[in-house]
């Protein structure tokens, strides 16, 4: 391992510009003559638009144009799409209601887009929006997914009973049979709380139109600019792809929320052509709460069947998933194929059956959020397993160990084939670091101080590195999830990597350069990572689902293989040897068994000078591209253990120790991996203890600022004890699995298992706020008193 190669904890190259304010984000981009867009949003959760009077707004100073859904319809701008087709049990396709970029005749959630004002200044656009008079006919609203079917609110004509689909997975008969012969059945009702994504950088867009070329450019906060261009071109119809450039410069976090194609970005680029001026919009924080796709929001009943010895026989789950008022870009896949196939967890479960009813409600659209479906599945599995152990008087760690998958490959009953892992190794290591054996002493000591101490295990697995194109295609995905890479070696031996992955905080400029440094022996400072521009990178699928390493870097490996093969031919000519006799190591090409060698930059130069070989037989230049399509998902897995204390007097929960043992396969940069784990745990703890997006019954979002939506803070989190185990992933050349979502997946059940252990009962839901914990602790104290 070199100091900048694979496995080195290299400091992030990009951080210098980020921490010195030199990053270039979408809001930093200003085009000459640009106008500003302000969106008038619905204050009602559900209403008909009887009339919109724009006359006063149009007379306001600085106003360039005001558009409504009528203008979108007149220009035949297509509706926003959902790119993953899910079929119901009866074979019928999901019921997708129309999703115009500006509302047409009806608004369906608070924050829905009623009109856009475009003015010279943002303040003028906002003032003019005040003058728009909308005559609403208020309709009944529904926000609770469990009550959506049969509600008075009828959200889309296309979806009777507000149902998007009634989907299922697994073998119902086999699962029912497993339950019929069970010695013990554990039953659990739970809610996976709705979350706001809260990227540090809010969404933004600048649409630009070049009359000379009839070309459109969209600068936007995207995790996947090529997918944005594809959707805006092929489905929404704004311009053909060759006349349409999408640029996503530095992006400050996304957690999934910047995968999707939203109304605002669509409107900015459409309006830019209409008004013949660049049009800019930057979301304010409240708009982000209202209109960024939310996450989670499941209501689930789940059951686990055990035999008399504690072996798991079967699992069944019924989930109602809230998809909000419209289907967001990948929303349909989250509670189905990203969820139910993970219900086997790390366990050998012979029979699984899951039913998922997805419903519309008068709330913001719900889509992928860090982990996307897998945190929801892990919460179901790890809560069930914990409670099953408690109910049958078994140690939760031993119960898990008894049921672990131990041989690979392991085909689960729900699609996934686990290709490798060592779950016992992670559990053993985690128990040791957490000093699990002595928890009894620590509980007693805490009790002497009047505190309730608890410990909770979460043995998670996730499927990431998404995804094999044919596999996801067979499951309904509209497009394959391969990745592309191009390696351009310049004549002096510096290297440019063009990748379809797009960092929004992951550190690709460092890790991808480490790979190149390792392979070509060049310093990482001589490597540039180019991403986020459809005019530079040919095509790509973007960054989400922990896929940039396993899929994006694998594409780079494939292109580097081609570079090496070509460079060997050039080196062969320079060294007057057969390419087969050339060895490449540490940046040097050597004729086997001799001391004749030439370094990589010299070979690059010779490839371009092209004097030493016949240009008809060997093409000049050194540039190769590749597409990588994975053969399987990757399966990171691990064990997190949370130890916490509850103060029954105040309801305050203090996490005193966190142990994380993760198997991510091989690591490129352990420091960056550790950072990803830190952030993921913080987000998972946020979901468990603090965060919740709350609508009132009539559909008003009352958590629309950081006054009311509590994010985890530094003083809510302990210093983590992080360790790894390592089983290299067999399905990609680097043996890496992906680490971006693990913490957010593992943490919520670890916290709640610890909290319920401390409380001595299961009666607590997420977010376990101090008020909720205080109430639950009152019950605990009453139970203790009754027992005395």
């Amino acid at each position: 391992m070199s100091v900048t190669g694979i496995g080195a904890s290299v400091r992030r190259k990009e951080d210098v510009r980020f921490v010195t304010g030199k990053g270039r984000y979408t809001d930093d981009i200003n085009r000459p003559g640009q106008a500003h867009a302000y969106f008038l949003r619905s204050p009602h959760a559900h209403a008909t638009i009887n009339n919109i009077d724009l006359s006063a707004a149009l007379k306001m100073p600085g106003v360039v144009a005001v558009y409504t859904g009528d203008d979108i319809a007149a220009d035949k701008v297509g509706g926003l799409i959902c790119g993953w087709m899910i079929h119901s049990k009866d074979g019928s396709p999901m019921k997708a209601g129309a999703h115009p970029a500006l509302a047409q005749g009806k608004v369906r959630y608070v924050g829905d887009h009623v009109a856009v004002v475009i003015a010279d200044k943002l303040s003028q656009a906002r003032d003019a929006a005040e003058k728009i008079v909308v005559d609403y006919g208020v309709l009944p609203a529904i926000v609770d997914p469990a009550m959506a079917v049969g509600a008075d609110a009828k959200i889309h004509d296309a979806a009777p009973d507000n149902t998007v689909y009634n989907w299922h997975l697994g073998d119902k008969a086999a699962t029912d049979a497993a339950f019929a012969r069970a010695a013990h059945v554990t039953r659990l009702d739970l809610v996976n709380n709705r979350l706001s994504p809260n990227a540090m950088e809010p969404r933004a867009a600048v649409g630009d139109y070049d009359e000379g070329t009839d070309g459109l450019t969209l600068y936007t906060t995207s995790q996947n600019p090529h997918v944005a261009r594809l959707v805006l071109s092929a489905f929404i119809g704004l311009a053909p792809e060759h006349k349409f450039r999408v640029i996503a410069p530095d992006v400050g976090g996304g957690f999934g929320s910047k995968i999707f194609i939203y109304a605002e970005e669509t409107v900015c680029v459409w309006a830019a052509r209409k008004v013949r001026r660049p049009v800019k919009w930057t979301s304010d924080r409240t708009e982000a709460f209202l209109s960024d796709a939310h996450g989670r929001d499941h209501v689930t009943h789940a059951e686990l069947a055990l035999d008399a010895y504690g072996k798991i026989l079967g699992l069944r789950a019924h989930t109602t998933a809230n998809l909000g008022a419209y289907l967001s870009t990948f929303s349909s896949s989250v509670p189905t194929y990203l969820y139910a196939p993970l219900l086997s967890g790390q366990y050998d479960i012979p029979a699984i059956y899951a039913e998922v009813d997805a419903v519309y409600t008068n709330t913001a659209p719900v889509d992928a959020y860090r982990g996307a479906g897998r945190p929801e599945a892990t919460f179901v599995v790890e809560r069930l397993v914990e409670i099953a152990a408690r109910e049958t008087g078994k140690d939760p760690a031993a119960f898990r160990r008894q049921n672990f998958v131990t041989s690979f490959p392991h085909q689960t009953p729900v699609i996934m084939c686990y290709d490798g892992g060592d779950y016992n190794a992670s559990l053993t290591k985690a128990l040791e670091i957490a000093d699990y054996a002595n928890i009894g002493k620590r509980k007693a000591e805490a009790a002497s101080r009047g505190k309730l101490r608890g410990i909770g295990i979460s043995a998670y697995i996730e499927a990431c590195g998404i995804a094999p194109s044919a596999a996801v295609g067979s499951l309904g995905a509209g497009v394959g999830l391969w990745e592309s890479a191009e390696v351009r070696v310049n004549p002096i031996g510096t290297v440019e990597i063009l990748t379809g992955s797009h960092s929004h905080g992951q550190g690709h400029e460092t890790t991808f350069a480490q790979l190149v440094s390792e392979r070509l022996g060049v310093p990482i400072d001589n490597v540039a990572i180019i991403h986020g521009d459809t005019d530079k990178v040919q095509m790509g699928m973007g960054t989400y689902g922990s896929r940039s390493g396993a899929v994006g870097m694998s594409a780079i490996v494939k292109a580097l293989d081609k570079i090496e093969a070509k460079a060997k031919k050039v080196a062969g000519h320079c060294l007057e040897a057969s390419p087969d006799d050339i060895e490449f190591k540490d940046g040097k090409f050597t004729v086997k068994g001799t001391d004749k060698s030439i370094d990589f930059p010299s070979v690059a130069l010779q490839a371009y000078i092209a004097h030493k070989f016949n240009g008809q037989e060997l093409e000049p230049g050194l540039k190769e591209s590749a597409f990588w399509d994975p053969t399987n998902f990757t399966f990171p897995a691990g064990v997190h253990i949370c130890e916490l204390e509850v103060d029954p007097q105040t309801g305050v929960t203090t996490i005193v120790k966190w142990t994380a043992v993760d198997d991510f396969g091989n690591l490129i940069n352990p420091m960056i991996v550790e950072g990803q784990v830190h952030g993921g745990i913080a987000q998972g703890v946020g979901q468990a203890l603090f965060e919740g997006a709350v609508y009132t019954k009539d559909g008003q979002l009352v958590t629309a600022s950081f006054m009311d939506y509590q994010m985890p803070r530094a003083d809510n989190l302990p210093s983590y004890n992080i360790a790894i185990t390592k089983t290299p992933c067999p399905s990609n050349p680097l043996g890496i699995k992906g680490c971006g979502e693990a913490g957010a997946i593992a943490a919520p059940p670890a916290v709640i298992n610890a909290l319920t252990d401390a409380l001595g009962h299961e009666d607590i839901a997420m977010p376990a706020s101090p008020l909720a914990v205080w109430r639950a602790a009152r019950k605990t104290m009453a139970m203790k008193k009754a027992a005395e």
Partner: protein
């Protein structure tokens, strides 16, 4: 988001006098907190402009005030709704009952239901209950002052 409030206020005038004042647009205009204008549009309807501040959001609401469910001189309902542009909307109503008070005068009781939405609910959620109660109390306190003043 919806909220409800109840209250009562003792007035130093007889029921008939109080009833007359409850139906006098000039009195109502003087009593509705933040009322900029109240113009008669029909027998029992008015168009109104009301300036309201909820936490960080202040807005001018344009809407209607209506009097209904008359049972003179015992009770009626005063209700209103307004759109505050990008600030959202507010609507609400109060059922007002009058009864002879022990020892003279009139006891006015009110039962208020209010509803807000949009930015007011988003940014002012924690403040809404307090603001709504304060506005209702202010209206009836103003009304009591008006009655006292004769």
């Amino acid at each position: 988001m919806a909220m409800t409030m109840k209250g009562e206020v003792a007035l130093p005038a007889d029921r008939q006098t109080v009833w007359a004042k409850l139906n006098d647009p000039e009195v109502l205009k003087a009593c509705i907190p933040g009322c900029q204008s109240l113009d008669k549009t029909g027998e029992n309807g008015f168009s109104a402009v009301v300036k309201l501040k909820v936490g960080p959001v202040s807005a001018t609401f344009k809407g209607n005030v209506e009097l209904s469910d008359f049972d003179p001189p015992n009770s009626y309902k005063i209700s209103g709704s307004g759109e505050g542009g990008i600030a959202g909307f507010a609507k609400g109503g109060a059922v007002v009952h009058l009864a002879d008070a022990e020892g003279g005068g009139t006891l006015l009781t009110y039962d208020v239901e209010a509803n807000v939405g949009g930015k007011i609910a988003q940014l002012g959620a924690r403040l809404i209950d307090g603001v709504a109660k304060k506005n209702a109390d202010t209206f009836f306190a103003n009304f009591a002052e008006n009655v006292k003043a004769g």
